[in-house]
Amino acid sequence: MIWIGRSIVIMACVILGWNMSYEYEMAIINIRQLMQILEYMMNHIQTEKDTIPDAIKKTSRQIKGEMSNVLEKIAEEILYEHGDSLCAIWKEQMSDTLIKVPKDMMEIFVNVFDHVGYYDSKEQVSRLSQVHMEMEKHLETLEKQKNDKCRLLKSMWMLGGIFVVILLW
């Protein structure tokens, strides 16, 4: 019975380690999706000279998952509801999303529309591409550390489990 308990503790820690490393990988995938959103929006603004809400709306149709709904909601709110500024709506909706990305990265993305009102689409695009570049840098770092971090997370949790088992011996 004791051995069963011990193995359960170790198994749980191993699963937690795997889960955390999976979350780390998911964060990278999510960042890629956020970058893709920026790329789509830049394309719409650059080639079709779309307004930001239109670019958001079109992008919502190009991507999948939770972000698609969030983007659509943002566009609808800007286009058809009274009052709030684009920046406020974007921040509110993006802060409420459950998408998991590192906090600093999310902050960059949430603040992407802090500067709007450009008379030239190139300027708006360059603002978006600036954010894109910042995210790219972060992503590179995360990807470089990916293998080490995942291995570390898995082994740390496993060792943690063994440590708990030894403590309870």
């Binding site: 603004i45 000279k49 307004t51 009274h82 009052g83 500024s85 709007v116 009102g117 008379y119 300027e123």
Partner: protein, 323 residues
């Protein structure tokens, strides 16, 4: 979306006090004039009113809400959906159209590049012109615009603000949908200033009929040729003819057998006949019907619109007065 909502949505949250004012006067609201460091003005049935900080409509200038530059910028950005770049071509022409077909006129500092306006910056004056679509306004004119089931080339003449475009829109709808005098026809509207169909994102915001194609924002002369080549219309509709090249394109279209419905500025038929460019065209007998619109006061002192319809020989064939 209701018309009041279409106007309310143009103002950001901190102008919520205007929402009730807009709602209360929406039926007669013609313009909202916004100028930096000046009171906000509502033009309702040709009368001016101010709005106080609580959103009440007042005639007292002292109580009026004064627009600051930051306020105006926030309104402008909000109207442009935070994307003025998307409207740069229209802004250079001084106006753009928003959802509902309402026109936003803007004034500011113009940047020129070899006599061409490349940018308008420091926008400090905005005029929101509320679109008024009056359906059925041209119904009584229809019998005079057809002969043997065929539509006659028609020119609507009136001074600015005389209701040319409103009438043109309704006539276009009538011709397109069909009426008791003729079947519906394929129409192409060359809407250079987005006034007739009031397109927003390419979609007409006004009802211009089910057989109507709209070439939005396109110069009239080029547009007419494009329409003939691409869309094969039976009737071409153009607003505010003026340039010689417009008339040349018009002549070409009429030679191709396409019927024309157009408007031109003028006080009366005489104005058109004495105008050098337009006179040429009329001499070529493109137009077969002339509708002259004018405003006058009736016996009761009410402002009425007078319509006179002339035929090819400039003979009066019908006239009507409307309050």
């Amino acid at each position: 979306m209701k018309k009041a909502e279409q106007i309310q949505i143009l103002f950001p949250t901190h102008f919520q006090f205007l929402y009730d004012a807009v709602e209360s006067v929406i039926d007669g609201l013609q313009e909202i004039r916004i100028r930096v460091n000046c009171p906000l003005i509502f033009v309702v049935q040709k009368n001016e009113y101010f709005i106080d900080v609580r959103g009440n409509i007042t005639s007292d200038f002292q109580k009026a809400f004064i627009m600051k530059k930051a306020d105006l910028e926030s309104v402008f950005n909000h109207i442009c959906q935070y994307s003025p770049y998307a409207y740069d071509n229209q802004i250079c022409q001084g106006y753009f159209t928003v959802a509902g077909g309402h026109r936003i006129g803007v004034c500011g500092q113009v940047v020129l590049d070899s006599q061409t306006i490349t940018l308008m910056k420091q926008i400090c004056f905005i005029n929101i012109r509320v679109s008024h679509e009056i359906r059925g306004i041209g119904d009584s004119l229809m019998p005079f615009l057809y002969q043997n089931g065929g539509f006659e080339n028609t020119l609507i003449i009136s001074p600015p603000g005389g209701g040319k475009t409103t009438l043109l829109r309704d006539l276009a709808k009538n011709i397109s949908d069909g009426n008791r005098y003729a079947k519906g026809k394929q129409i192409c509207i060359i809407d250079e200033r987005s006034e007739v169909a009031g397109c927003y994102m390419g979609v007409p915001q006004n009802d211009v009929g089910m057989r109507t194609d709209v070439l939005d924002g396109c110069p009239k002369a080029i547009g007419m040729m494009m329409a003939i080549r691409a869309m094969g219309p039976e009737v071409i509709v153009v607003d505010e003819l003026g340039l010689e090249k417009d008339f040349k394109a018009l002549e070409l279209a009429s030679v191709c057998g396409i019927k024309i419905l157009a408007t031109a500025h003028g006080k009366g038929l005489e104005d058109i006949l004495t105008d050098c460019n337009q006179n040429n065209e009329i001499e070529r007998k493109v137009f077969e019907r002339f509708i002259v619109l004018s405003w006058k006061k009736n016996m009761q002192g009410e402002k009425v619109q007078e319509w006179k319809i002339y035929d090819k020989q400039k003979k009066l064939i019908a006239e009507e007065e409307r309050i």
